[in-house]
C-alpha cells in the first residue's frame, strides 16, 4: 500500500444519504478475481444510461448527464463529499477498490458504515467524519460555479480551504500511523507471532473444542 501523503484535490459532492455498496459497485463486477480495474464501473448504475457488464469498455457507453461524476467541474476529483451512512450494505472491498481506482483518496461524510470505514484504511483511502453543519457548508462551496479544491494533511489532521480556513478532523492513532507509512497490516501482526502462539496454546487447554477441526 502506498503511503498517504498530503495532497490537494477537486471535490465531488454526492448529495445522497445511505449510499450503499451495491450502488458503489454493482454485483456483476464482483465476479472478477482481481483487485484492480473497478474504477470505470464505480457507481455504474447512476453513472451510465445503459446496463454495465464486466469486460465491456466503458469509454463508449452513454453517460447519465445529471450524475455528479459526469459534471465537467468535477473531472479528476480526488475528494468525495457524501451524506450519512455512506458505504452501508455489504462487506465487499470492491467498493473501496473502485473508489480508489477511480482516483478518490478521501471521502468526507457525517457518518460511515462500519465495515466500509474499516475497509478504506486497508486501501489507502481516508474516510473523514465531519459534523452535518460543516458538511452543509462544504456542499454549498462544492456546488458553486467553480469546483472546490481542498488540501488534506493527514499528519496535521487538517483540511485546508482555498480561503485559508482550516478544518481539523479525528483519526485513530493506529490507523493514522499505518496510513502515513503505508504499512501492511499482516506484516505488523506477524511481529507478534509469539503472542499469537502462546494465546493459542493456552486456549487449546481451556477450550479444546475450538481446535478439533
Amino acid at each position: 500500500m502506498d503511503a498517504f501523503k498530503t495532497f490537494t484535490g477537486i471535490v465531488a459532492p454526492l448529495d445522497r444519504s445511505n449510499v450503499d455498496t451495491d450502488a458503489i459497485i454493482p454485483k456483476q463486477f464482483l465476479k472478477s478475481i482481481k483487485r484492480t480495474g473497478f474504477g470505470p464501473n464505480l457507481f455504474d448504475e447512476w453513472r451510465y444510461l445503459d446496463r454495465g457488464e464486466p469486460g465491456v469498455d466503458c469509454s463508449d457507453r452513454p453517460l447519465s448527464s445529471d450524475f455528479v461524476l459526469n459534471d465537467v467541474r468535477y473531472q479528476g476529483a480526488k475528494v468525495l463529499l457524501a451524506r450519512d451512512n455512506f458505504g452501508c450494505g455489504s462487506s465487499r472491498e470492491h467498493a473501496p477498490w473502485a473508489l480508489e481506482d477511480y482516483g478518490f483518496r478521501v471521502i468526507i461524510a457525517p457518518s460511515f458504515a462500519d465495515i466500509f470505514f474499516n475497509n478504506c484504511f486497508k486501501n489507502g483511502l481516508l474516510p473523514i467524519v465531519l459534523s452535518s453543519e460543516i458538511m452543509d457548508n462544504l456542499f454549498r462551496q462544492a456546488t458553486g460555479e467553480q469546483a472546490l479544491e481542498l488540501t488534506v494533511d493527514l499528519e496535521a489532521q487538517t483540511i485546508g480551504l482555498p480561503n485559508g480556513d482550516s478544518i481539523t478532523f479525528e483519526v485513530g492513532e493506529f490507523r493514522k500511523h499505518c496510513l502515513l507509512n503505508g504499512l501492511d497490516d499482516i506484516g505488523l501482526t506477524l511481529q507478534h507471532v509469539d503472542a499469537i502462539k502462546s494465546y493459542e496454546a493456552a486456549r487449546q487447554q481451556s477450550a479444546p473444542w475450538l481446535f478439533t477441526q
Binding site: S17, Q28, I33, S91, R92, N118, N119, G172, I196, E200
Partner: protein, 465 residues
C-alpha cells in the same frame, strides 16, 4: 459485571495497543468465492501459508446456478471465480463443500448446520451477513478481503471494540408474526444506521421463544441496522441445536464445552451504552416499501408520504425511493402487486422458513399475474430435508420452482435476477436499488408473507388467509 459481547471480546484478545486497538484471535473463518480470490492471491504473492488450515471452511454460494446445475456454470466469469475457489482450497488444504456436495449451500446456513459455528467462538467471513452466527452466542462479523487475507495468514484480526447495545423485546410475538417481522420492525424503529458502532444483543421473551433458526434471521439483519455484530445469549435451545452436529464436540469435551457455555450471557446489571425496549406484542407482519430496509411498514398499512417528513434530506430520500419503486404515497400495501416471488437467502432459507412458506402454499396456486416464484433452499441438506417432508411437492404443485441451494436472487450474481421495473416479494435482506437486478424493485417480507403474496398476487396480511 460484563455483557455477553464484553466476555466474548475479552476471551479473544491476544494483545492491545495503547489506543485500544486489539489483536483478536479468530476461531472460525468461512470462505466463499466472491471475497476470497484476491486474498489467496495476496498470500501467494507474499509466500505465506494459512496459519491454521482447520479453522477455515469454504463453500461456493454467491455465483452458483440454482437450476440445471449438472450442466455447470455457463457464465465464464462466474465459472472462473468458483473454479478459483476450488483451486485455492486444494492448494492450501482448506476443506471445501464444492458445488456438487450435498453439504454445499449459503455459508451462513451451512456452518451452523454442520456445527462448525459454536457458542463462544469468534467467527468471521468476507460477507456482511456473518452476524447471523451471533444467534448461537458466537462473536461473528463480516470483513473485507484484506481482512480475509489477514485472518488466513495470522488467525487474527486488528479490531477496535464496539459499544454495547441491548434491544429488549418484551412480551410474545402474536400469531402469524415471525422473526423476520421482528427484525424488520426493529430496523424500522432504530434506522439503518441506528446500530453503527455497536454490537447489539437481542434479549427478552420474544427472543427466548424463538428457535435458533429464528434467532439467526434476527441476527442476520443486524448489519441492516448498521451493527456488524448481533448476539443472542446461549440457553438450552442453543445447546440442543448444536448437539450431535458433525463438527460439534463429543463425549467429555462436549460436557466441558456445555459447562463453559453456561457463562455466555450478559451479567445481571452489566452496562449497555444504549438500551432499547420494544413491545413485541405490538409487532405486525412487516413489508418494506422503499429502497432501504428502514423504509418499512406493517402490511396492514400504506405507503408513507414524504410530505409528512420534517427532515428535508429524509423526505428527499423517500421521494427518490417512491420514484424508483414506482409507488405513490398513500397506496395501501395490499394493492401492491409483485411480479416475482423469491423465497431464499441467508435470512430465510432454512427448513423452518420453507415449512412456513409451504404451509401457506399448500392447496393453493401461484396467482396468474406472478411471472416467477422461486424457492431456493439454503443448503443441499435443507433441500434434502424439505424433500423428505414433501415440501418440494407442495411448492411445485402450487406453481413454485424448486431450485438448488445458493444465494440466488438475493443479490442476483447468478442467472436469477429481476428485469428492470419488475417488482419482487423477497425473503432476502436488502431492498437497495438494483440489488436483485438493475432496475428491479424489492419488497422485503418473511417467508409466509412471500408465499401469501405469491398465491394472492398482492401483498396481504398472512393472518387473514
Amino acid at each position: 459485571m460484563k455483557t455477553l459481547y464484553d466476555k466474548l471480546w475479552e476471551a479473544h484478545v491476544v494483545r492491545s495497543e495503547a489506543d485500544g486497538t486489539s489483536l483478536l484471535y479468530i476461531d472460525r473463518h468461512l470462505v466463499h468465492e466472491v471475497t476470497s480470490p484476491q486474498a489467496f492471491e495476496g498470500l501467494r504473492l507474499a509466500g505465506r501459508k494459512p496459519w491454521r488450515t482447520g479453522a477455515n471452511l469454504a463453500t461456493p454460494d454467491h455465483n452458483v446456478p440454482t437450476h440445471k446445475r449438472d450442466e455447470g456454470i455457463t457464465d465464464p466469469v462466474a465459472r472462473l471465480q468458483v473454479e478459483t475457489l476450488d483451486k485455492n482450497c486444494q492448494e492450501f488444504g482448506i476443506t471445501e463443500f464444492e458445488m456438487d456436495d450435498i453439504r454445499q449451500g449459503i455459508v451462513h446456513v451451512v456452518s451452523p448446520e454442520e456445527g462448525a459455528t459454536l457458542p463462544g467462538m469468534t467467527l468471521v467471513c468476507g460477507d456482511s451477513h456473518t452476524a447471523t452466527h451471533g444467534a448461537l452466542g458466537a462473536l461473528a462479523f463480516g470483513i473485507g478481503t484484506s481482512e480475509v487475507e489477514h485472518v488466513l495468514a495470522t488467525q487474527c484480526l486488528i479490531q477496535k471494540k464496539s459499544k454495547n447495545m441491548l434491544i429488549k423485546l418484551e412480551g410474545k410475538l402474536g400469531q402469524g408474526v415471525d422473526a423476520k417481522d421482528l427484525v424488520l420492525a426493529i430496523i424500522g424503529e432504530i434506522g439503518t444506521a441506528g446500530g453503527t458502532g455497536y454490537a447489539i444483543e437481542f434479549a427478552g421473551e420474544a427472543i427466548r421463544d424463538l428457535s435458533v433458526e429464528g434467532r439467526m434471521t434476527v441476527c442476520n439483519m443486524t448489519i441492516e441496522a448498521g451493527a456488524r455484530v448481533g448476539l443472542v445469549a446461549v440457553d438450552d435451545t442453543t445447546v440442543e441445536y448444536v448437539k450431535g452436529r458433525p463438527y460439534a464436540p463429543e463425549g467429555e469435551i462436549w460436557n466441558r464445552a456445555v459447562e463453559a457455555w453456561q457463562d455466555l450471557h450478559s451479567d445481571e446489571g452489566a452496562h449497555f451504552d444504549r438500551v432499547i425496549t420494544i413491545d413485541a406484542t405490538q409487532i405486525q407482519p412487516q413489508m418494506t416499501w422503499g429502497t432501504s430496509p428502514e423504509m418499512v411498514v406493517p402490511v396492514t398499512g400504506q405507503v408513507p408520504d414524504p410530505a409528512q417528513e420534517s427532515d428535508p434530506v429524509k423526505a428527499d430520500g423517500m421521494q427518490r425511493a417512491l420514484d424508483y419503486m414506482g409507488l405513490e404515497a398513500g397506496t395501501p400495501c395490499s394493492e401492491i402487486r409483485p411480479d416475482v416471488v423469491f423465497i431464499g437467502s441467508c435470512t430465510n432459507s432454512r427448513i423452518e422458513d420453507l415449512r412456513d412458506a409451504a404451509a401457506v402454499a399448500k392447496g393453493r396456486k401461484v396467482a396468474e399475474t406472478i411471472k416467477q416464484a422461486l424457492v431456493v433452499p439454503g443448503s443441499g441438506l435443507v433441500k434434502q430435508q424439505a424433500e423428505q417432508e414433501g415440501l418440494d411437492k407442495i411448492f411445485i404443485e402450487a406453481g413454485f420452482e424448486w431450485r438448488d441451494p445458493g444465494c440466488s436472487m438475493c443479490l442476483a450474481m447468478n442467472a436469477d435476477r429481476l428485469e428492470p421495473g419488475e417488482r419482487c416479494a423477497s425473503t432476502s435482506n436488502r431492498n437497495f436499488e438494483g440489488r436483485q437486478g438493475a432496475g428491479g424493485r424489492t419488497h422485503l417480507v418473511g417467508p409466509a408473507m412471500a408465499a401469501a403474496a405469491a398465491v394472492t398476487g398482492h401483498f396481504v396480511d398472512v393472518r387473514s388467509l
